[in-house]
Structure formats: structure tokens, C-alpha cells
Assembly symmetry: D2
């Protein structure tokens, strides 16, 4: 049975699995990334972004974001993020741990998005050594509530960051969904807009495990390989982390997967907003739908076996679509919501 709890409930997409199996058929391969598969994927990502970026593979998003941020600041620096940012709400202090104590400074913002003004306000709030000095701004693209920063929004934020000598990090756990939603070249919302480091999510896009950390400013990647090794993020049989990316990159499967998930969210949003008593909490721009159900309805849905996360208060529902979410699942879910709402 499919669910809307998270896009990480889905499995491995066929193309990624095929690539993994192919990588296993090549017999012995050098470890720790010195294999032909890993080199190939790094080059492919450079091609994709149309720039000579530095690419690393890590096991998950906690590590990708925490280590990327740690490489951009020291323990007495701080990171500006949205108050709904995953690194603030769901990493159990991972960024603070890997950086040795950097503080996350949170800002509010409509639709889960930071604004230049909010960032500026945090940067200028304090200028004394009793408070950690801001060094990084981090954006989540697509955001934690399913919205997407436009090219202009990313540019405006990066501009203020540069002016204030901060680095720009992008948490792209659902980067593919944002690119698909905006229908722009991936470079347009990353390095061409001023992003220094991107954590490019693979897991939610159809991989078994693994994210890519992409440094557009290669100087920032100095000794990052040592950092990964020390932090327990260097896979010995690296090809099984890297090769599946080939499955995603060949024939733009990563975009196809993202577009499908986005489309399913669109369908779900359409169906839900037709139901009396249901309201949509945020404009669904990527693969998430946040819907306010009558509390009893949410409860009944769970009792019927549907899994999904609560978002701020009874009845608030986070509904995620995955690369494999079937239209039938969406329709069945929507029909069930209608039934419970009407009941």
C-alpha cells in the first residue's frame, strides 16, 4: 500500500536499481571512490550543471547539509535559516554537532521562504563577540512546505548574502522537484544565482541511499574529502552509492521522477480543494500538499490505515508524493477524505 507520509517511503526507481546491479557486475573495483563509476558520475554532474564543480557523495541529508555547513563556518559562527528549515526542526542538532557548536539563527517567512529583509535584519541585529557571527544563509529548495523559490528570489537572497560576506547553501533534498516545478536549467537556481554549495538529494528522487554535495566554488571544497572520511561519510564500496545516480541522470530520469511526483501533488491538491471542509495551507508548487482537514477526518484517515505527518495542530496534514505515487492512490486517498469529511 502506498502512503503520503514521506517521499522516502518509496523504494528504488528501476533505472537506479539497474545501475546498481550493473556496478556490481564489474567485479572488483577500487574502494573509496577511486572507481570508474564514481568518476563518471562526478563528470556527469559537472555536465548537468555546466560548470567545473567539485562533487562528493554522502549517505544522507543530515550529513550532506551538516558537513556542507560545517565547511562554511567555524564553531563560533552562525547559520541563518528559515524557522521551518529541516536543519532546525528535524536533524536532532546535526548541524550544531558537525560544526562543533555553530548556532542556527531562524527567521520567519511566508510560505516557508526566507526573504532578503529577514536575512538582513538578522545579520545586522548584533555585531558583538557575545553572539555568533553570521557566516552562511541556507535555503531549502523546494521548501519544507512545498513552495519553490523563484530564480529571482534565490538571486535576491544570494545578493544580500554576498554583500554581507555570507556564503549561500542550498538544502536540495527535493532539488529535482524544484527544477521540475520551475522548468529552468539547474544552474539557474544554483551557481548562476549565487549559490555556493548545493546538497542535491538523491534518496527522495529514487535512489536507495545517498546525496551529492556540489561545491560550485571549488576553493570551499578544500580538504572536504578529509572531512567526509573523519565524519564517517566515506563509503568503501563507493560505487554502490554513486552508480545509481547514473540511472537518474541518463535520459533525465531525475526530472521525470520529479515531474511525476509534482503532478501527483497537483492532482491531490485539485481533488482535496474540491472537498468541503478541507483547505490548502500552502500553494502546492512541488511534490507536497499541506491540507487542513477537520481534525476528526485526519483521525479517521489514519484509522483507515493511511500514513501521513501532522503539521502544526490537529487536522493539519503534510502529504508527500513520490516518484512512484500512482494516480489511483491519489484518487483513493481523496475519495476517502471526502467520505470522512462528509460523514
Amino acid at each position: 500500500m502506498q502512503h503520503f507520509a514521506s517521499d522516502n517511503y518509496a523504494g528504488i526507481c528501476p533505472e537506479a536499481l539497474d545501475a546498481l546491479i550493473a556496478a556490481n557486475n564489474s567485479g572488483h573495483e577500487p574502494a573509496y571512490g577511486d572507481d570508474s563509476w564514481t568518476n563518471q558520475v562526478c563528470d556527469r554532474l559537472r555536465d548537468l550543471f555546466q560548470t567545473d564543480c567539485e562533487v562528493f557523495f554522502v549517505f544522507n541529508g543530515t550529513a550532506a547539509n551538516s558537513l556542507a555547513l560545517a565547511s562554511l563556518c567555524q564553531s563560533y559562527h552562525s547559520v541563518i535559516c528559515h524557522d521551518l528549515a529541516h536543519i532546525e526542526t528535524d536533524e536532532c542538532g546535526g548541524p550544531e554537532f558537525f560544526s562543533g557548536g555553530s548556532k542556527l539563527l531562524t527567521a520567519p517567512g511566508i510560505g516557508g521562504k526566507l526573504t532578503p529583509d529577514a536575512i538582513e535584519s538578522i545579520i545586522t541585529r548584533r555585531a558583538d563577540i557575545h553572539y555568533p557571527k553570521p557566516k552562511v544563509v541556507t535555503l531549502t529548495q523546494s521548501t519544507e512546505v512545498g513552495t519553490v523559490y523563484s530564480v529571482e528570489e534565490v538571486r535576491a537572497i544570494a545578493a544580500i548574502a554576498k554583500r554581507r560576506h555570507l556564503k549561500v547553501h542550498m538544502d536540495g533534498a527535493r532539488f529535482a522537484n524544484a527544477v521540475a516545478a520551475l522548468d529552468v536549467h539547474p544552474s539557474e537556481i544554483t551557481w548562476r544565482a549565487g549559490v555556493d554549495v548545493l546538497c542535491f538529494g538523491g534518496t527522495k528522487n529514487g535512489l536507495p541511499v545517498g546525496e551529492a554535495v556540489v561545491f560550485f566554488d571549488r576553493a570551499l571544497a578544500d580538504d572536504f574529502a578529509y572531512r567526509l572520511k573523519q565524519a564517517g561519510q566515506l563509503a568503501s564500496k563507493m560505487r554502490f552509492i554513486s552508480a545509481p545516480w547514473l540511472g537518474l541522470l541518463d535520459h533525465d530520469v531525475w526530472l521525470r521522477n520529479a515531474r511525476h511526483a509534482n503532478a501527483m501533488a497537483r492532482l491531490l491538491e485539485t481533488r482535496l480543494q474540491e472537498i468541503p471542509g478541507v483547505s490548502i495551507m500552502f500553494p502546492s508548487e512541488s511534490n507536497a500538499v499541506f491540507a487542513q482537514l477537520p481534525p476528526h477526518a485526519a483521525k479517521t484517515m489514519r484509522a483507515r490505515g493511511w500514513k501521513f505527518y501532522e503539521f502544526i495542530g490537529a487536522g493539519g496534514c503534510r502529504l508527500m508524493c513520490a516518484w512512484d505515487t500512482q494516480p489511483e492512490t491519489v484518487e483513493r486517498f481523496a475519495a476517502d477524505v471526502r467520505e470522512t469529511c462528509v460523514a
Copy 2:
């Protein structure tokens, strides 16, 4: 072409791959370990060890050992290990990082093995607050030079540790090879002998990625799940880390794999010791052979395309056999060595 550089040059064994594929066929599954596969594997490991241990899965050995050690000591404590221990020589400061600064206190020991006397001597060397207080003894089983601690040796070390209020950790990156070599029940060299925590290596035994951290003393595992999450070691699609273990555990494939690797090392040792000019550096008790070749021979072998690690000085060779090492590869390698030595 197969190599003897490391047992992590080998790929995924068929049974583990089948289990991974099977886990992918079940559709959506809860994330972060709340899936049926992970629970099942934990239970299977409890059965295997015949005790109600607490089991966690992490991505690699650096993380397994570093986090297990961090859970046993504070930053101002120290860990006693052999001076050839992997955590000392090949983790880029991982244990120091994850513990926030715990010092590794190294001891020499014949054949890569710690002795009760060496441990006692380190524990009693200092008793002032200017030096980190020893809190853990860690053994590598099988050792970094291919030897194996006997049941009695593990027991003796654990006994001195307990008397001195230290915990006992076992780095079991090649635990399977040790069990196969000793032909004992896995509990005999772990909890029944006094080991508190085992890092049970899966990668070198045929998995794509992943190790198990097994706490025999469940009290030591308190909040360890939080530690893993914060440290970037909690897989979202956990089943792809856990399910492959089923492939190893069913029908004792893990032991079969280990026995095969050990047998290949035996064969390699036999062949090499027949060659004039070659000497065996350590008794080959598991899946490693350490051989001293004439320096020119080692060089020539590499020129012929063979990959293997140097061990202490020119001509010292570390030769690892894997679950898939073929007898033909061993014979061809030995023939090549003979040729280069005679030449």
C-alpha cells in the same frame, strides 16, 4: 580483474543483492527503521547471538566504531587500542571527532594483538587529571594483520577491563572471518567473553554498504538512536541497509563467505611460502596474508596491474581475500610472484 588490495574491492554477494531487490518490491515502507525488514533483521541478530541485544545499523565502519566508542566515554576519557588498530591508523581522527576529543592510547603487541599486561600498564601509568582517564578497551577481531584472538585471549582482556572499570568494544569489521577461523559460536567471543559492544562488519562480508552496532549491555544503548540521527547515520530508506543482512544471515551465508575468504588466504599463504625470497610476516589466521616480498618483486607485481597495499616498508605486502576471491586468482597471483622473485 580481481585484486588483493582489500576485501572491500569485492561487490555485493548474490544473496544480499537478492534481499535488497526483494525489499524494493514491497512498495512503500515506513522510513528510518520502522519497516518490517529492519525489525526482522534485528531479531535475527538477536537469535544469532542468543541474547537480547540492542541492534543498530550504520553506513560504515568509521561511524560504527567511532559512535560506539563515543557512547562509552566522554571527551576527557581515553580508549586503549593496539598501535596498529584501524581507529588509530585509518579513520582520519574519526573517533576523536565523534567523541569530542577522546584520546586513543596505543599499546604495542605481537601479531597485532593487545595483551592484558599491556592494557594494565596503560591503565596504571597515570592517575592524574592532566591525562585522559581510560574508559574503554577496543579489540579488532580479526586483527589488522590477519591474526585472531582466541576465546581465552578475549576473556582475559575483558577480565582486566572489568576489574579496572573499563568497557570492552570489539571492532568486528571482519568479525565473520574470526568466527569462521575459530569455529566457535559468535557469542563465545563476544558477550559470553565480556564484550560490551560489537561493531559487526557487513560490507567486507558481502553487503553493498553498512555495519551493525550490537550492544550486549542494553543500558549502554540508551538514546543511541538519537546519537545516530544527529551524527548523520540514520538511513531514511533503512530497509536497503538492513534487508541485505537477511541475505547474509539466511543459511549462514555470512559464515560461508568468511570461510571462503579465509580458505583463499590459506591457499595464498601456502603458495607464497613455497616461493624463495618470500616470507610470511604474520600467521595467516583469517582472510589476510602479510608477506614480505623482495622490494623489486612487489614493484614488478604492481607494474603487472596487481593492486595491494604496502605494509611497513618496501616489499611488505598486505593481501586480502574476499568472499568472491577465486582460486584461479590466487594461483595466478602466486605464479606471478614466483616469476618476479625468480627473475
Copy 3:
């Protein structure tokens, strides 16, 4: 010229200086706290608190609070504090650094005080491993805005903490002022009320440098001396940190100093509230007065050479009185304010 910027603008009180000089006259003394002065002060503090507490001396408040908190939690745990707490607003990430990443979870509260309900609400908000587990509640006594927790308030907070298995830490940078204000025995607002660890401030009470960390639960102090040493908080010539405490403890100079500072704040508050256009922001219960001046008045006061901190917005003034603040200074300051307000 005296100021109201901070009670740490004041120097060393005569009794503390005399004790420091006396400690210097004893010739050679063992280092690192094995001297007669340090032992004596520890005993005196045990007498003062009427319990067999464990006492340590550190150099400043950042270290006292950060190390005490670090000893109460692991990196993946969290600390509940008021959103105005000094550890949150003015330690540059010290608590996060010393704990290796523990998160501070802030709660609002009238008059700078936490409430049992606010604490309970934070504790119960999350119960998953993606968010750091609350392990400590910390109170500042007297608070950052000059108010004081009553005995009942401390008890109520400690009770909820115990019920939820959290430890209770008290940031007592101005503990003396709180005791003086409440006129209770120091044990009544510490261990008898349920406080586990107190950071007892000496610097603001008249010492040149140094705070005491007092563990009422001795088990929590296990190996704390190692922690201090590693963290750069073990003085070699310890007697110069500890002996001055004798000057404070003899004849209750610490209380006399605190009572004087409190009285000066009372006087300042009285004078200020008589001035049209000035409003008192918090009830002045200890040695601080927070007053809202007309913005131009605050500016003019600074132009006249007075130093004081801004508190939330133009015209908000934090005014601290010290052990040596003279009534004449208060009167002159108040007269100046009146003049600038009337002008």
C-alpha cells in the same frame, strides 16, 4: 567615573583583594587546587549551603554554565531555557560548543522567568529522534531582567523537571543578589528546592575573576575535574582564584555586597519612576533596573558620558548596580535623566 553598564565594570572588593594578597604571602603552594586555600574555600561553601556538595572553581560564567550543562547532557540532548537567558543571547554559542552540539530550546515567560507550563509544553512537544531530547532545565537567578524566582517558583519548576527526568541547573551569575532579595537561606532556592547544580557567580559580587560550580548531587560531578582540565578551566595557581572567595564568605561580605547593589537599584528605580516620561520595564527585584526612557534622552545620557546597555529598542535601558555603586552616582544619574527628559 562609575557607570551602570554592568556590575562587572566594578573592581575587586577590599576583602577579596586582601584575601588574594594574603594567599600570595604564603610562599610556594601546590598547584591545580591542592593548596590549603582552595580546600578551605570548598569547605566554607559546603558550610554555607549546609550540605556535602562538590565544589569547583572556573574562570568565568561562560565556562561555568557551559561546562555544568555539558556534564548534564550529551550532544543529542537539549536544554530548556528562557528566551532571554544569557546562555542563549550572550555566550556566542558556548553551551553548544562545550556540549558538542546540544540545542537550547527557548521558552517565553513574563519577567524573564520560565514557568512549569512553558517547560512542560516544550518537553512534550516532540518525542521522536529527529529532535534533541530535553535533559536539563536552566534557570537564571536573579534573572536577566532583574526579577527573582521565589522559593515556590523554583520548587515548582524543579518538580516538573524531576517528573520528566530532567536535571535542574541554576545560572547564578547574580545568585547573591537573589539571596539578598529573597532574604532566604541559600539552600532554600537551590538544593532544598530541587536544583542539581548551581553556578555561583563571584565576579559580579566583587571578585577579580572566577565562579564556583556547585554540584549538590555529587554523582553528577563524576570526573568533572577532568572536564575542567581538558576545557582549559583548571588554574595552575588556583589559590588566586579560590582565596578571594574567603574575603566574600567571611562575615557574609557576599551578602553585604549584594544587598548594597540591590539597595542602589531600589534607589535608582525610585528616582527614575518619579521622572515624567520614564517607565520601569520590569519590577526591580535585584540589582538591575530596566527603564524605558524617551529615545532622545537615552541618547543624550550617552553623549554626557554615561555608559549603559540598550534593551530591546531605542530608549530601553539596562541599568546595573554593583557592590561599589555610590548613592551619589545614582543621584547624579537620575538628575541627569530628569534634566534630559525635561529638556
Copy 4:
């Protein structure tokens, strides 16, 4: 009674105490180093070193060295030091803690001194990401066994460090004794020789508490003030840490103190080497004498009330002279040794 256990058994020298008292007579002063005393001392140290260095004050040597090293490397880097270096043997893992896990790589060396060859050998030993990358060389001047690096020796070490892109740190807990011993300008063995950062010891030279961290390369001091604050090393009443330095710097009291201590060590060495059965372990070039006594003699000396540290094995004695060590004490000690040796 005076002892030879450590130069930190001595108290505050009169000139430093006078300066401290003078700083207390100035009434209120801005906190955290914004006072006139601190600025003055920084300028005086710049004058002393004849360069525009950046100066910070910390509470003790553990912090000075650990924080200076942490500012020169990341957690996955390493620091090359002598195997007798204080940071390795007596800081309870302080450098590892403050750096978040940097490893100390120790080298042997005659007379407690590193050599360019030993450093080169460590740097070139490994070049893979499985071992922390060397980033700093640290020298102790004077060394832990009382010897002193010549100007040429410091230069040679700094030269190899620069060639290999490592920074050079000097642990100068007894820097004054080295300058006095060599009779050179302090710049000659620091920045003119290639040292990047010096930890200039004040405590053992006659201060109550405190060391200076001197960055000759100002770029390395970027945001170091934040680091100090976060690490609990920013004194609020800073003048009591800084002002006593004036007592040392005026009229070269620091050199006079050091010369006296060195002379007392010379006297002690002369006396001891005349005693049959006593041998000098290292050439006494600064304020330390390391003497091998017959084990029973060392024991008897302790029974007579003399305090001193054991150095490697029974009978090995570390004997430190301080700024206030009296010739009579030396003579009495020597006479006692003679008596116990003859007995």
C-alpha cells in the same frame, strides 16, 4: 617552604601584584577588554616584539595552546609535536577537544627537541585521506626538559614547515626563560624565525593567572575574539588579567624573573653534579634541572618534605626553579640530596 615541583608553585611577583592593585584603583572600567589597561598592554607587547602583532589574553596555558592550535587547523588536520610535548602529555586531551578532534602526531627527538628531519618524515609518511593531514608544527620553547631551541634550530624547523605549507606554533609557557637563556631579542626566535603564533606564558613568570596569545600573522587571528568568547576564555574584568603584564614588562621584569630562575637552575645543576650517584639527564639550559638520583634518595627527599615530580622511572627528578627561588633553598636542597646519597 619553597619547592622544586613546578614554577607555578610560586606566587605573584611584587611588580605584577602592584599593577593589579593599581588597576583596581581606577574605579569602574569597561569590561571584556575595552579598558585602558588592556589596550596599553597589547601595545606594549607589540613594542616588545617590534611588529604589529595581534594580542589576546587567556586564562591558562591549556586554553592558550589549544585555542591557538584550533585556529590553525580543522578537526581532520593534525599537529606535529614532540612526544614529550605538554599538549600531548599533560592537557587531558585539550587540543583534541578545542579543535574538535585534530590528532597530535608525535615525534621523538633528543633533548625534547623536534628536528626538521623528524618533522619531514611525519609529513611525508602518509598522503591519503584516511589519516589526518598535517597542518601545524608546534615547538615548546624552552622545552619540557629544560633545553632551549637555538635561533638556527627554530629557523630550520619553520623553513621545513613553510615549504610543506604548515603553520608554526610556539608553546611559550616558559618563553621568558628561553629568551633569557639565549640572550636574544624575542623577535629572533619568533616571527623573524618564522613562528606564526606564540603562546607567551605569564603565570610561570610571576603572574597570578593568564597567558598571552600573540599572532604575528594577523590574518590568522580573524574572528579569534569570537573563538575565545565561545570557549570561555574572555574575562569580563579583563584588566585584572592584562594589567599585571605591565608589572612584568616595565623595566624588563619578565627577563629579570626568567634570568633569576635560570641562574638558580644553573646553581642547582652545579651542586647536584658534584654529588656522587647523581647524574644530570639533560643539559640545563633554562630553569629546569632533570637529575637522576638513586631511587632511595628521591624517596628520602620526599619523606623530608621536598616536593618535585618524577620523570620517567624511579629516581628521575624534574626540578623547576621559579622567579622567587632562593639560593638558600637550592643549597639546602642540594645538601639534603648529598646527605641522602651518601647515607
